[in-house]
């Protein structure tokens, strides 16, 4: 059979063509701030092993305006990341069934979100007042 001439459309800028893909890119991109935040925490742990002075210096560095700005930004994007994480959780969850019927997707998402909020409140109360 003769080879048919076809036209292949370019993929350039694909994620800007659909709001669904834009949200996907923000979801994935937000994990970059999450990674930076984790590195800062790890640095803190490392400074702790170097003694009290190093630990206090790290804590002081955290109070700088740039650090505060970053942490507010990180909190915002990580909250969004957590929200989207539960939105896609029904796709990554095993086949969950109750009495033979699949568990509704919104139940998995809502359960996860409530759990996250609940755990955050508990941790905040422990860290703040205990």
């Amino acid at each position: 059979m003769a080879k048919v001439k076809t036209y292949v459309r370019p993929m350039q800028g694909w994620w800007r063509r659909n709001p669904y893909f834009v949200r996907y890119m923000i979801r994935e991109g937000s994990s970059v701030l999450l990674a930076i935040y984790s590195i800062i925490l790890l640095v803190g742990l490392f400074r702790l092993t170097q003694g009290e002075a190093a630990w206090e210096a790290w804590r002081t560095a955290l109070t700088s305006p740039i650090s505060l700005l970053f942490h507010w930004l990180a909190l915002l994007t990580v909250s969004y990341h957590a929200y989207t994480w539960w939105l896609v959780a029904p796709k990554t969850a095993p086949d969950l069934r109750i009495a033979g019927r699949p568990l509704p997707e919104c139940a998995i998402t809502a359960g996860g979100l409530l759990g996250t909020v609940g755990a955050s409140v508990v941790i905040y109360v422990i860290v703040r007042w205990m």
Binding site: V4, Y7, V8, N18, Y20, F21, K91, D95
Partner: protein, 252 residues
């Protein structure tokens, strides 16, 4: 008819014998409340330009032939109505990520010749038994564990929704991987090992980054994203050799 209105339909045209790249052509098409996008295209072909080329067959969302991009979203054109776009325009393009053969017709060879056969989309039995021994029985529970995934009509909307397939055409893709799961999840099937190489590959389930749009556009609610991501767990268990211990029968 009294309720006839007119809508503008922009269609992507490509004639491989003349054009170096596709271009849009606009048609004014009369429609009523129950005119589908497919019927709009048929009106253009019958009354305005007989050279317009597109695939269709059943007109009732079961054959999977008439998939198009409708205003940027993969849709079965028989299952989508012009009234929902009026008074705006409707922009119709061939399904994304596939090579265009002519106008709205895409080259489906990659799916039907490569991806689909690669997942062995049929029951691989442990042993064949004579017809006289009767059918393989299944409980309703066993049936429901794969029924949803057996609803795929190979319309390829999910491939048009998957940017990973567009970026890496080697990716086995949503429908083929969902069908792989359909057979792996079937209690009569023993083909897991035979399909494992495709499933575990970089272009298998791991090629998916959970964009999730495939499940969003699937007209049959197959939920390919769920099928694929469940199997990332199976693939991991297979890698560490624990899958066989947990599932000695070779089920999914």
């Amino acid at each position: 008819m009294a309720d006839t209105r007119t809508i503008e339909i922009e269609v992507l045209r490509y004639n491989p014998e003349k054009d170096t790249e596709p271009h849009f052509q606009t048609f004014k098409v009369p429609f009523t409340h129950d005119t589908s996008v497919l019927q709009g295209l048929q009106y253009i072909k019958d009354h305005l330009d007989g050279s317009l080329t597109f695939r269709w067959s059943c007109r009732m969302a079961i054959c999977g032939s008439c998939g198009k991009m409708v205003n940027g979203r993969p849709e079965l054109s028989c299952h989508t109505f012009l009234r929902d776009y009026y008074p705006g325009k409707v922009r119709i393009e061939p399904l994304n990520h596939f090579p265009i053969v002519r106008d709205l017709v895409i080259d489906q060879t990659d799916f039907f010749n490569n991806k689909l056969p690669s997942v062995k989309p049929y029951v691989v039995s442990k042993e064949s038994k004579p017809l006289s021994a009767g059918t393989f029985l299944q409980t309703p529970k066993q049936f429901h564990s794969y029924y949803q995934y057996s609803q795929c009509i190979n319309c390829l909307l999910c491939y048009a929704a998957c940017p990973q397939y567009g970026l890496k055409p080697g990716f086995t893709g949503p429908a083929a991987l969902a069908l792989m799961h359909r057979y792996n999840a079937d209690s009569r099937d023993r083909g897991w090992e035979e399909r494992a190489e495709i499933l575990n590959a970089e272009d298998g389930v791991w090629g998916c980054t959970l964009v999730g749009y495939c499940s969003e556009v699937c007209p049959k609610h197959v939920d390919p994203a769920h099928a694929i991501n469940q199997n990332k767990v199976n693939s991991t268990m297979d890698y560490f050799g624990v899958r066989k211990l947990l599932m000695p029968k070779g089920g999914a």
